[in-house]
Symmetry: D5
Subunit: 91 residues, 10 copies
Amino acid sequence: MEFLVRFDTALPETMTDERRAELKSAERARAMELREAGVLKRLWRVPGRRAVVGLWEAPDATALHDALTSLPQFPWMDVTVEALATHPQEA
Amino acid sequence: MEFLVRFDTALPETMTDERRAELKSAERARAMELREAGVLKRLWRVPGRRAVVGLWEAPDATALHDALTSLPQFPWMDVTVEALATHPQEA
Amino acid sequence: MEFLVRFDTALPETMTDERRAELKSAERARAMELREAGVLKRLWRVPGRRAVVGLWEAPDATALHDALTSLPQFPWMDVTVEALATHPQEA
Amino acid sequence: MEFLVRFDTALPETMTDERRAELKSAERARAMELREAGVLKRLWRVPGRRAVVGLWEAPDATALHDALTSLPQFPWMDVTVEALATHPQEA
Amino acid sequence: MEFLVRFDTALPETMTDERRAELKSAERARAMELREAGVLKRLWRVPGRRAVVGLWEAPDATALHDALTSLPQFPWMDVTVEALATHPQEA
Amino acid sequence: MEFLVRFDTALPETMTDERRAELKSAERARAMELREAGVLKRLWRVPGRRAVVGLWEAPDATALHDALTSLPQFPWMDVTVEALATHPQEA
Amino acid sequence: MEFLVRFDTALPETMTDERRAELKSAERARAMELREAGVLKRLWRVPGRRAVVGLWEAPDATALHDALTSLPQFPWMDVTVEALATHPQEA
Amino acid sequence: MEFLVRFDTALPETMTDERRAELKSAERARAMELREAGVLKRLWRVPGRRAVVGLWEAPDATALHDALTSLPQFPWMDVTVEALATHPQEA
Amino acid sequence: MEFLVRFDTALPETMTDERRAELKSAERARAMELREAGVLKRLWRVPGRRAVVGLWEAPDATALHDALTSLPQFPWMDVTVEALATHPQEA
Amino acid sequence: MEFLVRFDTALPETMTDERRAELKSAERARAMELREAGVLKRLWRVPGRRAVVGLWEAPDATALHDALTSLPQFPWMDVTVEALATHPQEA
């Protein structure tokens, strides 16, 4: 089952540059694992924003939630999830 | 997987009373079948409104969509669906 | 009478890990008591969020408020309550 | 238990003046019965609008829904209900 | 003239418990004076929230504003006011 | 007491030009009476819209409602009212 | 350049079943041409709604607009378009 | 003074094709006059919608309103106007 | 040209009482100058809020912006501006 | 392709005046480069706000995003982007 997921990530102003760099690289590594596992299928940047739209696939909303919370930046993300059904033209 | 589903049903003013009664009884019959199949689990009335909140279970959003569109009043319903994940206290 | 209740919990960044762990375990314990008392009937995770949707039962809104404020994390919760009426198919 | 209830009533343009007068007088009569029964406690006009705010008392949301749907103009009302808890200063 | 008034009070996290207790008792005392003066007529708790809905009576919006700003917690309240007209059934 | 009042007037497409002209001239006549009575103090056009913002003065919301409903176009107006308090710089 | 496009299609109640069937088949045929041309890349059903989310690719917003207006049901669609930038992980 | 103006035009379903064509050509002619007069400076299409964003220049909001109402399709437009100030980088 | 302007002023909790008093008196002095210059015409208090609605007159939005930014409390104000056109009844 | 872009810039209260002045001058310098490159075409001030509306031109949303993030104040801007299509009157 596919989901459209939006994140808006806001790291706190007080976070050190080192911690930020660390988090970004851990985030990218985890995202790559989720891509290889077929859970994260596409990612787009919302122009002008620190926000991201993604296409995810998971057996259900619980598995999706587990994938999302496995992202190292999850504690600073505001996430919204939209469940998608298959369109008859693609069935 | 469970879903929280809201319907707001607005039959057109021009529909005859006979057609309304027919639709309501067909709706109830189909809802009963969906309950027996374990797809429709609970239904609540939103007080003061023709709206209904329901708890549904389906393998994915495509199966849920098929169940919803099988309701005889579907063409006159405004429906919103919220995907639910299992809460750790209930896992 | 049943109520649909949404919480969005935001513990402050400055809270220590110890205090967090303590609060989470106190929260779970109190939730279990409310389940046993039949006040808290179901709980779902909103996927991708620290938010929770619950089905509660209480004699009236005052009793519900007392149950909600008895949760140890209540001071950090943003809560919205929707009163539900019995649906004729379930009466 | 008390409820704050808002109605916005919109009788269709095509309704005859006779039917309108009939409905308004039936509405007033039913409202009076509900006042005498202690269900409808106060009613205010929202200035400049055909809308009304009311204070209602009913054992639960199901009983409130039944009272609201007993109003002759109910089919043309858009209704929203807010459940109220007792304030500690009034307990 | 009556007004429906909503408050959402948010005392800052950094306020001491002593200062909070002091403020709450001063608030209750001032509210009691306003009740006796017939300015504050009813107060309800919004279930699950630190919010309050009240029915107030004042000669006009200026007098209402003065009553509201006389509350000791006013600096931390987010307040919205709705002017009410007399309903013909109560005139 | 002053009020800021917004109207959005939408005469039905099916109304004849004659009826429209009649209504507009009756509207203007009634507005003039309300200006002379000191109830309607100012009127502005919202640029690009059939909407109007007005400054009204009335003893209370009930008197304001009566003034607004005395406008011949009232049945086709969507009206919102905001109660205003005196600013200390003007007291 | 990719775009996320939402449609909500509402054919008028008065349209004959024949005209509806004709339109749906013309819509499907045009969608297939746009898929073959690489303009329409994915389509999902929003569960419970007549709405569709699609992933489109076009050189710019003008070319996208031309593709959208070439759909036979365009006159009855409410469309919203969100421009997407490439995410660095996919560059 | 410049203004950013959005129109959403919705000609009624019942309008004949002939009347539509007539209106569109009258609209284009009037727009051209307003461009020559320097009142209408730019016009963009909102992709996927019958909506238009325009940059207009007029001495004040009253002159802008007169320009907008001179458009033949004005009775079927929903218009919103945003007043713009000169940016210091362009002063 | 007239403008309807709303301010919501929120001085930071950490500002000293002395600095607050200073700012308020500077604000009042500047407002008086703007009144004498015919730029600030009326000011109302929104009951229950630290917000203010004002009627301003300026040759255009740039001059209005300059007047607003000349207020000493401007850095802590959230301001919204609505351009007004002359109503035909007042022309 | 053109884009309408809104920024709302909020430098933190704790930033020194020196750092602010530095940032503003770097911002102006970068904006000038983007104007010379034909990427930034127009800029307007939203009256009464620290917000800016701009007309930008870029080959696609990715190039626009790169231009926006090259602004020195980008980390403190809340940005929204609207893709524009060419209007047939200007084609």
